[in-house]
């Protein structure tokens, strides 16, 4: 097994600021916009983006929710490992809101598909956008593309992209791991 650094902590920092900036460009004051971190790993990215929006753009009353997609996945009873659920926490209505899904890696698009179904349990959003730190293009199983993308990566299926966060793994770094 070998691993290669795809993004260093400094590069991640630059990308996060760019992503936040792009969001502000589209959503200005976030009056009708809400951020949704996809559990489990999208939540870290969502918290970082929220932080930048609050500190650097002085935006107040931003709404951030956590959405767990386990019960909406299409591989129930099909994967070798049992699926483990995480906490969903959305204490606002998404009806008529502009929803921004935030996830760390966009790979086959199946998680996003599940998230699109899951969010409907909380109302009918006005529109839904997708942000991902890593876009593994050419690996999609479904017609889903990100609106905000940190870095496009061409990786083969045997390879894994691992996004590590300071608050969880002790360091901001993205690895490409090959067997």
């Amino acid at each position: 097994m070998s691993q290669k650094v795809l993004l260093t902590s400094k590069e991640i920092d630059i990308i996060l600021h760019r992503l936040a900036c792009q969001l502000v460009e589209n959503h200005t004051d976030f009056k009708d916009s809400v951020l949704i971190g996809i559990q489990p790993r999208g939540v870290y990215l969502a918290e970082r983006i929220l932080n930048i929006l609050q500190k650097e753009y002085k935006l107040k009353d931003l709404k951030l929710g956590h959405l767990d997609i386990t019960f909406y996945r299409d591989d129930f009873r099909r994967s070798d490992k049992p699926l483990e659920a995480n906490k969903t926490k959305i204490d606002f209505v998404v009806e008529d809101k502009r929803v921004i899904f935030i996830d760390d890696v966009l790979y086959t698009g199946r998680s996003t598909r599940a998230a699109l179904t899951a969010i409907q349990s909380f109302g009918r959003p006005k529109e839904i956008e997708l942000m991902s730190l890593i876009d593994r293009r050419f690996s999609r199983h479904l017609p889903i593309q990100p609106d905000y993308s940190g870095r496009q990566v061409d990786a083969i299926n045997e390879e894994k992209v691992a996004v590590n966060w300071k608050e969880n793994e002790g360091e901001d770094v993205v690895y490409l791991i090959s067997k």
């Binding site: 767990d68 386990t70 019960f71 909406y72 996945r73 129930f76 009873r77 099909r78 490992k81 049992p82 699926l83 483990e84 659920a85 995480n86 906490k87 969903t88 179904t117 409907q120 349990s121 909380f122 109302g123």
Partner: protein, 309 residues
Amino acid sequence: MSELSVNHLLGIKYLKKEDIKLIFKTADHFKEVINRPIKKVPSLRDITIANLFFENSTRTRLSFELAEKRLSADVINFSAASSSVKKGETLIDTVNNILSMKVDMVVMRHPNPGAGIFLSKHVKASIINAGDGAHEHPTQALLDSYSIKERLGGVKGKKVVIVGDILHSRVALSNIFALKLQGAEVKVCGPKTLIPKHIESLGVKVETDLRKALEWCDVANMLRVQNERMEISYFPSTREYTQQFGLNKKMLDSLNKEIVIMHPGPINRGVEITSDVADSENAIILDQVQNGVAVRMAVIYLLASKIKQ
């Protein structure tokens, strides 16, 4: 642990402590789901579940059916009163006929103890025991413990007294197994005639004075007197039972502490518990019913995830 150690839920006796933990953790997620504006998830859309009730039930059957529908499973219902069982068909034949219609899971209530265990050895489907005679009623015990955990923050070290007809109660037996497994202290309280001999061997203590039992406990689980299972008289009169083992507001108020009141239903108001107690702040009877759906969703979801395609 992310998988149950069993393929069927036949009784609490067959579960490990970790299984209960996993069920409760999963139930937490489902409790959040059933409080959403849209209370349904698509997880079990390719699973078919048969609810076979060979004995009357309202709450349990509705709770299971709702849990199954909230998980998007296909559901078929069967009650013995309107079936070929009356025409002399055996249990295995009845169930195999139903399974040949491609059913993945069976939820069964049956008047005979061990019916679920027997069935699990002879048919190819996951079996959930929804009550077998006076033996076990595992999902009830799970939702009772879950409700205690929700109200008191945990089950370990808590003192629970089960009051009433212990002899005929599957709820009592499953509760004793579940509570002991999680490290609670358990006492049973009732007329001597309604307490099984050698029950101490399960690690519980017997108390025949209701007041003493209530002074000792954190939680009192009040059971119904199961007249339908009694062929002989176990106590002189209902009035006398109520005087000795019925819980009223006066007694509850005279205790020097707050206790949690539970009841698995159906309540005989004025017999084992008075209306003002059943409707008081201390009672978590309706929480038990709500938690029942979440806990049953968790059990069904976890067992279904073990059915391989």
